[in-house]
């Protein structure tokens, strides 16, 4: 018995190993990509602590890194020494905090309003139209904004002229830009989060509303005690995700929409645009890496803290 079993056992084990091997080959293309384009650059973090110089004798990334001078925290010191850095940190955190709150309020409100409509067709048309901007690139959006704000021909500029007002110099005056950016952000992203909330509302069992109505609940009470509690997990998930990215900004929004105009930087410079400009225009790789590292570390801490708080308060809603 034992003798006849063992060949079978080996066969089964070999088949099992082959299976593991074959499945591993399936994961390889993705895994290699992650290794090269995500994990390898993590070693590049050393650049934040270096005064990066090209090693002229045999220039290659690795030689350059090996022969560049180690400067410790110099780059970070420089980063915080400038007023510019405080402006970009203020802008990044300020816009994100404001937009997280506004985004949730407006998207939930629109989702509830659409779900209360009795004309199915109209609700569907609204949804489709609201989702449309999500599919456009910021380059295209920057042209849309330009059509309204162009200093010579923009629609709003012309309206101001026609009403004998001094036309606002939209592309050299940073003051209106917090409003413009907020509007552009909500315009492009509301449709997306609105649809996520709508999908959740659709999934609510209608008998809960019937029961609430029989108990004499008004429409407001139904929203307050049935709809909103059901939306809570989705709100929390989207909230954690955005808090985790509170130090990240949508590069396209801040770079394309203000069309990269220098005078607008006080209102439009964020960490992401700074990291890009330090790298590409100033060619200061150390500073750029330092700012990027700071961004990633803060983001990592934020998402971990947000998630662990949520896990303690409401374990089912936490992300991981």
């Amino acid at each position: 018995m034992a003798k006849s079993l063992s060949p079978n056992g080996t066969l089964a084990r070999r088949r099992f190993n082959t299976k593991t091997l074959v499945l591993t080959t399936m994961a390889l293309p993705g895994a290699i990509w992650l290794l090269l384009l995500r994990y390898l650059p993590m070693f590049g973090i050393v650049l934040s602590f270096q005064d990066y110089k090209i090693y002229t004798k045999a220039p290659s990334l690795i030689n350059n890194i090996l022969h560049s001078k180690w400067v410790g925290l110099e780059n970070f010191k420089f980063l915080f020494a400038t007023t510019e850095s405080w402006v970009m940190i203020r802008n990044t955190l300020g816009y994100n905090a404001l937009w997280i709150v506004l985004g949730i309020i407006f998207a939930v409100a629109f989702a509830i309003m659409i779900s209360e409509m009795t004309t199915k067709f109209a609700a569907k048309v609204y949804q489709t139209l609201m989702f449309f901007p999500y599919f456009l690139s910021w380059v295209v959006v920057s042209y849309f904004v330009y059509a309204f704000l162009s200093p010579e021909k923009g629609l709003i500029t012309n309206l101001q002229k026609n009403m004998d007002l001094d036309p606002t110099q939209w592309y050299s005056d940073p003051r209106p830009w917090p409003y413009i950016l907020t509007f552009a952000y909500l315009w492009k992203n509301l449709g997306y989060s609105c649809i996520l909330y709508l999908a959740t509302i659709t999934g609510i069992d209608s008998s809960q509303y019937e029961a609430a109505r029989i108990d004499g609940a008004s429409k407001w009470q139904q929203i307050r005690y049935v709809t909103l509690p059901h939306l809570r997990p989705m709100i929390i998930i989207l909230f954690i995700l955005s808090v985790g990215r509170i130090f990240n900004a949508d590069f396209g929004l801040f770079y394309q929409v203000p069309m990269n105009y220098g005078p607008l930087y006080p209102a439009t410079q964020v960490v992401d645009t700074y990291v890009y400009r330090a790298l590409m225009s100033m060619n200061n790789i150390g500073m750029s890496s330092a700012a990027g590292l700071l961004q990633n570390v803060v983001g990592f801490i934020c998402i971990m803290v947000a998630n662990s708080i949520v896990r303690r308060v409401d374990p089912d809603s936490s992300l991981f």
Partner: protein, 310 residues
């Protein structure tokens, strides 16, 4: 999504629905915002059909004095660069989508297989990159100097090939669409892993694959950041980047028009006109605008699945 609205009305009665005046207010509020969402695009289309004289006279306007098709004539006369960029956009979108979907199917299938030994490892391997990364500068240095993603098509395709978010979406699709018994029985019938995946699993997961493909296609079509980082040659730039650079060139010329000699003012006279640039925008948006109502359903199912935690 069909059942999204009006779910709680029974047979046309208004039992349990909001009152008629309230509903009218809802339609005004939501309708207004929905209209604002589409308005700038309509405006751009109108500008692209306005004559240059009209734009000089009244600026960009919803009611131009004179209509004209000239912008589109110029766009298609322009020839080489436009066709070249259009080709680049299409090529990068198609090739990028094909490769990224293939990689995504393979990787997420492995994550889906409960009996796979290293499932947890590969899950963490991709999920961790959503939480932490090297940042733009190190990634740029590695891509450009070590991986050779420099001024070539690969630089426009490779950096967007993998998305851990899509892996999670696709794995959820597999979980919903594929019963695990199916894989067992295929394996008992002696089907190899690759054959099982491509001949049995893929055909029944097509809606999920369509979602991933459309999300990727959209990402590639709208891509301009990679060109900004890695591309120098005009032959390689896609439409989005061409559009972005046209604007910068015009701004540069106009802003410096006071300081330049006669040969450059000649160049200014030949600058792409306003209606021409808006026509370019329309050409980029039209494929999305027309395809979007049809594939919206897939995108929505992908996004709603992706937002639900694993």
């Amino acid at each position: 999504m069909e059942r999204l609205a009006g779910k709680r009305t029974w047979g046309g009665t208004r039992l349990g629905a909001v009152s008629v005046p309230t509903e009218i207010i809802l339609h005004i509020l939501v309708g207004l915002f929905a209209f604002i969402c589409i308005l700038p695009f309509i405006f751009t289309v109108i500008i692209s059909f306005s004559s240059e004289a009209s734009i000089r006279e009244v600026g960009y306007s919803f009611i131009p004095i004179e209509w004209s098709l000239k912008a589109y004539d110029t766009v298609f006369d322009l020839g080489l660069q436009l066709y070249r960029s259009f080709f680049n956009s299409v090529f990068v979108s198609v090739a990028g989508t094909a490769f990224s979907v293939l990689i995504c199917i393979l990787y997420s299938y492995v994550l889906y297989r409960r009996d796979y030994k290293y499932k947890k490892f590969f899950m963490f391997f991709s999920f961790f990159t959503m939480l932490f990364g090297g940042g733009l500068a190190p990634t740029y240095m590695v891509c450009k100097n070590l991986l050779g993603l420099n001024n070539n098509y690969a630089a426009l395709i490779v950096p967007l090939l993998v998305s851990p978010f899509n892996f999670i979406v696709m794995r959820t699709f597999f979980r919903n669409a594929v019963p695990e018994a199916l894989i067992e029985s295929a394996s008992i019938d002696g089907s190899g892993e690759y054959r099982t995946l491509f001949q049995i699993i893929v055909p029944i997961s097509l809606p999920g694959i369509a979602t991933i493909a459309l999300l990727n296609m959209l990402a590639y079509w709208n891509e301009w950041f990679l060109s900004l980082l890695y591309i120098r040659d005009n032959e390689l730039i896609p439409l989005q980047y061409m559009l972005m650079r046209t604007q910068q060139q015009v701004e540069f010329m106009v802003n410096n028009s006071g300081k330049i000699g006669p040969e450059l003012s000649e160049a200014i006279r030949n600058l792409p006109t306003d209606s021409f640039r808006m026509a370019l925008v329309v050409i980029i948006v039209v494929p999305i605008a027309f395809a979007y109502p049809f594939f919206q359903r897939y995108i929505i199912s992908g996004l709603t699945i992706g937002a639900v935690k694993e």
